[in-house]
């Protein structure tokens, strides 16, 4: 039975926490339990936004066998080596890291596509994240869906967690389970994704308060259900690169909050009025 204590703790003989924090970057896992709620999009955009602020950011795609961080970032053409190549010492880390040409301080360590999650050694994964923390200000790990081995490996090197959840009962329930499994060590924070304010107003969708009434986590941000996210993954251009994107703005704000800036929680605007809808109709 998967208990919180089964999430691998600090390696034995590790340095005291305070000393470590002084010399190393932050390792954050983005997870959810439920699939399809926006983990990968969040990892890509939060990472890119932090890099835009000048931070050195390494993104790790821990979804071995179902990799998508590369395609969401639009870097799929440049993937040569992957996580397992590095863990198995087949190539040096620098050969596998893909540096984004749009933001020089953003790098991606892609997942393997033709391997299985079982093949990842948990302790080697932990060591890799530690190694990356020495070079990068942020190491953000994109967790796979579920709570199986893939999740365990994604979580192992991280000290912080971002839980992504949509305002739907099954997503909230899964998030709650994940929070339980993570335990206190991670101080997880919450992003509520795909909120439709109009539906919330009509009582047809859980509100953010409803969701967090159950989860009781510090709220990082609230994102709407916007079409531009779909367009952005179609193109492989994270929304944070579009200064006109509302969602991009929200992600930038989330990044600022992660970095410690005292900025308000971003929230989606109220539903577009009639004029807004008319405008959309005539859009070419």
């Amino acid at each position: 039975m998967l208990q919180p204590q089964e999430i691998p703790q600090e390696a034995p003989g590790a340095e005291p926490q305070a000393a470590k924090a002084a010399i190393r970057g932050r390792a954050i896992v983005v997870t959810s339990g439920k699939g399809g709620v926006g983990k990968t999009t969040t990892t890509a955009n939060v990472g890119a936004a932090l890099a835009q602020r000048g931070a050195k950011v390494a993104l790790i795609d821990a979804d071995v066998g179902l990799r998508n961080l590369d395609i969401v970032l639009g870097l799929e053409n440049r993937v040569r080596y992957h996580l397992l190549d590095v863990l198995e010492s087949k190539v040096p880390l620098d050969d596998a890291l893909v540096t984004d040409k749009r933001v020089a301080t953003l790098s991606l360590l892609p997942a393997a596509q033709s391997r299985e999650k079982d093949e990842v050694d948990t302790e080697l994964m932990r060591a890799l994240v530690e190694q990356l923390r020495e070079r990068f200000d942020y190491v953000i790990v994109d967790s796979p869906a579920g709570i199986e081995k893939g999740f365990i490996n994604a979580v192992v090197g991280a000290q912080e967690a971002i839980i992504v959840c949509t305002p739907e009962v099954s997503s909230v329930r899964d998030a709650d389970r994940v929070v339980g499994l993570l335990g206190n060590r991670f101080s997880p924070q919450l992003i509520v994704n795909r909120v439709r304010p109009g539906l919330v107003k009509r009582g047809k969708m859980l509100s953010v308060d409803d969701v967090n009434g159950i989860l009781r986590l510090p709220l990082l941000g609230v994102l709407g259900d916007e079409a531009d996210v779909i367009v952005s993954t179609n193109r492989g251009e994270p929304v944070v690169f579009d200064p006109n994107s509302r969602t991009g703005n929200a992600y930038r704000t989330i990044a600022a909050r992660i970095a410690g800036d005292d900025v308000p929680i971003p929230a989606p605007p109220a539903e577009e009025g009639f004029m807004g809808k008319l405008g959309a109709l005539f859009r070419i």
Partner: protein
Amino acid sequence: MIDADIGLRNLDLVMGIEKRIVFDLVEVVEGRCQLRQALIKDKRFDSLSVVPAAQTRDKQSVSEEQMTQLVAELAEWCDYVLIDCPAGIEHGFRNAIAGASEAIIVTTPEVSAIRDADRVIGKLNERNQPVRLIINRIRPDMVRMGDMMSVDDVCDILSAELLGIVPDDEEVIDTTNRGEPVVLDPTNRLALIYHKIARRLEGELVPFTNLAAPSLFERIFGTWKAG
């Protein structure tokens, strides 16, 4: 129905039977209860029962052989055994597909969903399990604007037989909130679509219908389908 998502169960919630769970899948395979004790008979549908997943266990608690056996037992008196498969392609996925003779892949018309669906189809093909495709949450307005891949696009890429096309619908969220499957509401257009999917599963040839009246543009350059 079997909820194979051990540890992250949700079929009970979506079906609205979460308060009636006494025994679960893991207890059945461990022999701590009879199968019939775990089966929850749905009060709204005469011939529908659900085997819920365990919530506080993990997917390693069940083996592929145990799942195959359980499904076989159910198949002795059921016309259909539907297995709700967990996300991913790990142990839980392998368990879920173990006892199945065919598969329904559900994808949305988004890049990462399609890529994952492709990988899963590949794994099912390895086991020679026939696959049919449901495209979920399609948004006709976005397809028309060229901002979302169409049904044809998705079918081309995945090369799987199409079973159903389900549009993005605000009402579905409300129904899952209440634990009332959308097919219970005959006024909802999704109910009709799910019924068509069921008929196709029964072997009937049901055409895919248009969700919206075609625009002038579509009438000139060809309509798009859904249903």
